[in-house]
Symmetry: C2
Subunit: 421 residues, 2 copies
């Protein structure tokens, strides 16, 4: 295992039970299960609350202690020999996209729980406590702004700024949050932004690289930056059969021209820019009425902050010009700069993977993750495992049991190293 | 009044009470009134049923008899001296767009009722009966396929074909129809497709011509043809941040390319083609998921059948090529060829207008109307009055009281001529 990974850490990895982990993954997927095999588990929803309750029960049954902070991030602790030492944090999230899968987020949380159990089974007492966290509303599937739990915990955003957010179902985030916290009234309350030794998040790759290269794991080097904006195009309604084409202010056509202009701006021969219009709504949305309003979302990402800034500055004039004679307005909803994970932490993951027989490659993350915010508080890094066809945010999202197991093994060894023995 | 319009017909027109007509227009607009001053009165809805009940009450209070057919077209009859003679039909519809106005359809029905009253006031006994009709679901705002009542009445479509249609609110047309008919259990039942002398429909222009030329009325020469289609584009969902742009099957972008290709096909330097994408929905409609499905509507119209056929034939290959690598499918939902109204009927309207001091111009209709189907049973024609800025299908749709009055006057004189005295 080399100088940097003790035999103890390797033993922690080897104590991971892939079958137990898999059974937990399948069980968690029943909360918010869709008929098509996918998962719809919106943050702070009934399905989320039920999943949390089950998770707390599992943790307590295994002798770990659960707690919660005031943005409903759920914490599960395995004690350290030195309870005053800064803990190692592992975890991810358990909310899903509206038509999501069984692994995005869930793997990181349940592998975390498996790590705690593996350490018990292996009879390893770590110096530092290890906390498993399930962050609130990472996906932004119900409440538009994502990574709510980690951004509030890290202090990047104020809790109060989120309370008024209205979910896709019309519910205020503050009300859903209260409902969730009230469902577990006996849980101790954790503070936010407590000091920590490190944060390590295991996640499916959500891309095709590991599968193509037949590798079990990747040590993630960083996360590309992302910008989200809402665009609203305002035109004039009218009768589809009588209004001459000349002089129309058709909001859908205005939005259409804006998207064409955006496609031009975002075009990248290197295929490193990611640009998606995921949501589009027209009003009144009637076949024979010229739309008077169209709204759509922009999601664009790149590893370089300079390109993100360059493109961001051009968005408003570009869209306004393209949408004319309709009026256009832009509202930024998410702004994350790229992040590079600390070299020593990435190297530790590589060493753990190597020692356990899962040679890793380095890979940058295309998706953002809660690690991006955790990195504001402590050194952070991530481990990726393959997912079939690179597919995620989809009911058919899939990772093989041996890959879930490999990821949990590397996570266990890394956590043990960081926690000290 | 010339040889073709008797002094009696002119008297009928002069007996029209513009103020009474206006009060009725404002009263009808209260059924389904929107806070913004518009009207949302979906066919066969609670608001529609309430409006029908009021209309029946008004008719019976004035001594006319109401009846209904099995597609819930509402008929109000003023008896003729020869009750066996084929009646003259006047009317329009009282359903509205989701964000519609006070005049589209409503004017033709209430002016019809005013014509019957004017004949009473003027003490004119016509030879033929005069029927006022309120056709069911002209707009297609609730149930996608429009002109349901007139197309079934005329025999162009079978009643049974519509019963399974699902409304925007999830209700079956057959269920809404039963509810509507059950609300007026005492009304006699009329047959469908009974022979008639003529059908004359008064309507707002829904275009800018009359207002621009400062004219009170137009004699409508015909109705341009229209084609409606639903387009569905199927792609593959995926994560917005990780899926490379190359190789994506983004259904929204596929629909976007299809609309661009359609804009090219429909481009017309003469500005006679009318092309509208009024409805657009993406799925799952989440900001950071590549859309796996996008559906949109095509509404396109032209006065020449040959151009409609030419463009129609090109739609499928054009859309399939543009949407690739996404799959695209097309479903026609409405198919109306252009129609030319009989010259003698158009001339009668011109004469009536001239005699009453409302010089008319001839105008083709950009919108389709129930007259298109009524024309399959008997000679049909239409009268237009101006509407402000050509605006319709909009809460701010407006026609001046003097224009509503002028239209009703010309309708009364035309109906009297056709009914004989």
């Amino acid at each position: 295992m080399g100088e940097n990974l003790s035999a103890t850490a390797k033993r922690a990895g080897e104590a991971v039970d892939g079958e137990r982990l898999w059974q937990n993954l399948m069980h968690l997927a029943e909360f918010g299960a869709r008929p098509d095999g996918g998962v719809e588990r919106h943050a702070l929803s009934g399905a989320d609350i039920a999943a949390r309750t089950w998770l707390i029960g599992e943790a307590e049954r295994r002798g770990f202690s659960a707690s919660v902070d005031d943005i409903a991030n759920l914490w599960i602790r395995r004690k350290g020999a030195d309870e005053g030492a800064e803990p190692v944090i592992v975890g991810s999230h358990i909310d899903s996209q509206p038509a999501g899968g069984k692994f995005d987020g869930a793997l990181g949380v349940l592998a975390g729980l498996e790590v705690l159990t593996a350490l018990d089974v292996a009879g390893i007492a770590t110096r530092r406590p290890i906390d498993v966290v399930a962050w609130t509303n990472e996906e932004g599937g119900r409440f538009d702004r994502s990574c709510t739990g980690s951004s509030v915990w890290s202090g990047a955003m104020a809790l109060e700024d989120f309370l008024g957010d209205i979910g896709a179902d019309g519910v205020r985030l503050g009300d859903a949050l209260r409902l969730t916290l009230d469902a577990t009234p006996d849980l101790p309350r954790r503070p936010r932004r407590f000091p920590a030794r490190a944060y390590v998040e295991l996640h499916i790759e959500q891309g095709p690289v590991l599968e193509a290269e037949n590798l079990d794991v990747a040590a993630v080097t960083g996360i590309q930056g992302v910008r989200w904006l809402n665009v609203e195009v305002a035109g004039t309604a009218g009768h589809a059969g009588t209004t001459p084409m000349t002089g129309r202010r058709d909001a859908l056509q205005g939005a259409h021209r804006a998207i064409a202009a955006l496609n031009g701006l975002m075009a990248d021969p290197q295929d490193r820019v990611r640009f998606t219009v995921g949501r589009f709504n027209a009003f009144p949305n009637s076949p024979n009425t010229i739309p008077e309003r169209a709204v759509f979302t922009i999601d664009f990402r790149h590893p370089d902050k300079s390109l993100l800034d360059h493109h961001s500055e051009r968005l408003r004039p570009l869209i306004e010009a393209a949408a004319a004679p309709c009026a256009a307005s832009l509202t930024p909803t998410l702004f994350m700069d790229p992040i590079v994970f600390p070299e020593d932490l990435v190297a530790k993951i590589e060493e753990a993977a190597q020692a356990l027989g899962h040679p890793a490659r380095r890979l940058a993350s295309g998706a953002f993750h809660d690690a991006l915010y955790a990195a504001r508080v402590c050194p952070a890094a991530m481990i990726f495992v393959p997912c079939r066809a690179g597919l995620s945010h989809h009911p058919e999202e899939w990772t093989e049991p041996r890959h879930a197991r490999a990821g949990a093994r590397v996570l266990a060894a890394t956590a043990a190293m960081l926690a000290g023995v």
